[in-house]
């Protein structure tokens, strides 16, 4: 058995030492710090999630870059119009997609024609939302969101930077088509979920109940698993906190396995996520490129795998170096620089400078 200093496992152990132990000076020359043991107790609970905080700091920078890059590469594919169909408007936007365990704002290109409104994701070449104009009963703009009420009282939500323009154009297209739009709308009820661990610009692409086995103790615990546009994370129900998370760029792959979870829960499907632990976040010199596995179990594990595969395949795209044009893996280009001409991304430069310091 090898000792560990992995912050994930040892944080409480370390705090016990720094707060409660150490050389004691029996002298009147030191300040007695009233309340410190108390800080210690509260702190331990608060600190349990600290490693995730550290990890997150790194992840955020990454995601901005990936998004910027993604934006440049967007709008390559076009929809094919029906014969005689006229394109009225095209803009970037997103659609709130909620079906089963998928809940997210999914970005894509919004197309408005004289016959229909649709949103297509170019990365996946997939139409995510589509309605013919005569099915639109009414529309309403709430802050930055366009609410479309469809014939069967279904509610569709769209977002775009130019949301007002989109709203006006839809109204106009409907009227031009000789259709009537309901001005006195009653909104059907819908759920709005707020999850406070989400950060700015982070959206959930996938969520659901899942058991998770912490590598530190091998115990299966109940909670919720989320895949967002930035990370995969698991919410521990009992402690009401994120007990596990890994940025999506650290995920190497996944697999489904059938295992016995306990003497009672036998032959359950287990969703294993293989990832690269974030060595910088631990900061304690363990590092290296070892792999770790996080295990989850519950319903719909295959759907989870599919959702994750999408994230991973997205990452495996090739890109050209902005300096010399040599083709390379996009993520590697951002993370390690160009092997051909030595181009380094500004973010990486900053990081190198910090390490050197």
């Amino acid at each position: 058995m090898e000792p560990t200093r992995d912050a994930r496992v040892t944080l409480v152990d370390l705090l016990d030492r720094v707060l409660d132990k150490g050389l004691v000076i029996n002298a009147d020359i030191i300040i007695s710090v009233a309340g410190i043991p108390l800080i210690g107790v509260n702190l331990r609970a608060a600190l349990a999630g600290m490693e995730t905080m550290l990890e997150y700091g790194m992840m955020k920078a990454w995601d901005e870059k990936i998004r910027a890059w993604e934006k440049d590469n967007r709008a390559k594919k076009e929809i094919s119009l029906i014969q005689g169909e006229e394109l009225k408007l095209k803009m970037l936007g997103s659609f709130f997609y909620a079906k089963g365990i998928y809940v997210s704002w999914r970005p894509g290109q919004i197309y408005l024609t004289d016959k229909r409104l649709l949103l297509m994701n170019q990365e996946l070449n997939e139409v995510m939302f589509q309605t013919s104009l005569d099915e639109i009963k009414g529309l309403l703009i709430q802050e930055d969101t366009l609410l479309l009420i469809l014939k069967d009282d279904r509610l569709a939500r769209l977002r775009s930077v130019e949301i007002d323009k989109l709203g006006e154009s839809i109204k106009e297209a409907i009227k031009l088509g000789g259709l009537i739009i309901d001005e006195n709308l009653i909104l059907p009820e819908y759920e709005e979920e707020t999850l406070d661990f989400l950060t700015e610009g982070e959206t959930i692409t996938h969520k659901g109940k899942a058991w998770h086995m912490a590598s530190s103790d091998g115990i299966w615990k109940p909670g919720h698993l989320y895949i967002t546009n930035k990370r995969l994370c698991w919410w521990y129900d009992f402690e009401k906190r994120l007990a596990f998370e890994v940025p999506s760029e650290k995920i190497l792959g996944s697999a489904i396995d059938v295992r016995n979870l306990s003497p009672v829960l036998k032959k359950k499907k287990v969703f294993d996520v293989i990832y690269e632990p974030s060595s910088c976040a631990q900061g304690l010199g363990e590092g290296g490129s070892q792999r770790k596995v996080a295990s989850f179990s519950g319903e719909g594990m295959y759907e989870w795998e599919r959702a994750l595969t999408r994230i991973i395949s997205f990452r495996e795209r090739t890109e050209a170096c902005p300096q010399c044009g040599k083709k390379a893996n996009a993520l590697e280009l951002l993370e390690k620089g160009c092997v051909n001409c030595g181009w380094v991304s500004p973010r990486l430069k900053k990081k190198i400078a910090q390490v050197a310091k």
Binding site: E2, V18, K21, V24, I25, I29, K221
Partner: protein, 263 residues
């Protein structure tokens, strides 16, 4: 406290990280709490690793700030440990103050002088050794089943219970529960004695810490801090591996830490 930089000016307080072996007078850079300059104050063969601060404890309502301080404290101790080889760490927020007409540096020196022999002995004791945390936990649910299996008495009662009317069956259940509780206590005691003896052989010194609740579903039956000679760490690891495998227990092995428990 952000202005506690540079070691020329003392702000009436000295924050103490650790006592280090050797008398090198050196600045370790602005690696301390809130970026303070950490330096050594040598006295004879030993040095205090410190930074200058206000004569008030570091306190904050903001947990993130306190978190940062505590982790920085540990990083400085770690760094000093690497650099000077042997250290006696102090707990977070140990601050030496001055008195009327007496500089805190003077006070520090007085204390080092008075306790010199003692500190020197302690430094010698921990030289070439590292502290490790050893925690042994079990899953009570698993243990209950195992104990119920192993005890003929409980097995018999369970068998008898099947043929009893409800009122009597309840009494039997209570009886079984009490027996299980007793057996669990006995088992924990037995384990403790056994493991302690085996671990003791591989380590220089042991400090028994209070068992803590660290997990919803597990019970800690043993929490030790061990002072181990560097060359014996591997052997300790092997003993723990055996304990883990033979008994189906959860073993946490953390470290190396500076000798917080043996200072």
């Amino acid at each position: 406290m952000g202005k506690n930089k540079g070691d020329s000016q003392v702000n009436d307080g000295i924050y103490l990280y650790c006592i280090a072996d050797g008398n090198e007078k050196v600045s370790l850079g602005e690696i301390g709490i809130d970026g303070s300059n950490v330096y050594t104050l040598p006295y004879q063969e030993i040095s205090a690793v410190v930074h200058n601060c206000e004569p008030h404890p570091y306190e904050s309502e903001d947990k993130d700030i306190v978190k940062g301080w505590v982790m920085t404290h540990q990083k400085v101790v770690d760094y000093a440990w690497q650099r000077f080889g042997t250290v006696l760490p102090l707990a977070f927020d140990t601050i030496i103050i001055g008195e009327e007409g007496i500089d805190p540096k003077e006070n520090m020196k007085k204390w080092l002088q008075k306790d010199y022999q003692n500190l020197k002995e302690r430094l010698n004791k921990v030289k070439g050794k590292e502290e490790y945390g050893v925690q042994i936990l079990w899953d009570p649910k698993v243990m209950v089943e195992r104990i119920a299996e192993d005890s003929p008495e409980i097995k018999n009662l369970k068998e008898e219970l099947k043929s009893k009317p409800p009122g009597t069956a309840y009494m039997y259940e209570e009886k079984i529960k009490n027996l299980l509780r007793k057996e669990m206590g006995k088992k924990a005691d037995e384990y403790f004695k056994d493991f302690y003896a085996r671990i003791k052989k591989e380590v220089f010194d042991i400090h028994i810490d209070k068992a803590k609740k660290v997990d919803e579903n597990l019970q800690m039956i043993m929490n030790l801090s061990c002072l181990v000679a560097k060359e014996n760490v591997k052997r300790l690891g092997e003993v723990l591996e055996k304990i883990k495998k033979e008994n189906g227990l959860i073993v946490r092995f953390t470290g190396p830490w500076p000798p917080y428990s043996f200072a």
